[in-house]
Amino acid sequence: MIETILTIVLAIISLMAAVYAVLTKKTLNAIIASGIISLLASIMFLLVSAPDVAMTEAAIGSGLTTVVFLYALKHIKDRRSTHDD
């Protein structure tokens, strides 16, 4: 019972975060929204009793993907500002 309600709430919040990540103007907000989606997906993997998949999702989605996206965004902004001058 509690697992069903928790899965429904997490799925609704995850869907709203995905729609927000598509509709937003700033790329940084979309990166943070992808972090939230990774957190909720990790809890949903745990609810269907797959702890190893949840651990991998936590490591890749929250740690590695955010840092790599921010690094790429920083380099894109630097490249664009030097080409404009």
Partner: protein
């Protein structure tokens, strides 16, 4: 685990879900990017607590490792966003 304890843990589940929904409303509304990172931090803490409660209800100790990995790596994400806002990274 008897029934009163299970009822109290289920109530804690509902309270944490309400906290997560409130933080997500702040994530949608927040005018600057720092507001969104604060909301993400609160949602991470609530999510770690949800994972710990799931491990109590399911009676499996392996779920606590997921909470530990998440507690360390969400810190890395918030630090990366803070360095990006400051102009470093």
């Amino acid at each position: 685990m008897d029934s009163i304890t299970a009822i109290i843990f289920n109530t804690a589940f509902y309270v944490l879900m309400a906290a997560m929904a409130l933080a997500f409303v702040r994530f949608i509304k927040g005018p600057t990017s720092a507001d969104r990172v604060v909301a993400f931090d609160i949602m991470t803490i609530a999510g770690i607590s949800v994972i710990v409660f799931i491990s109590v209800i399911a009676q499996r100790v392996i779920y606590l490792d997921v909470a530990m990995v998440y507690a360390l790596l969400s810190f890395l994400g918030v630090i990366a966003v803070a360095r990006y806002l400051e102009g470093g990274l």
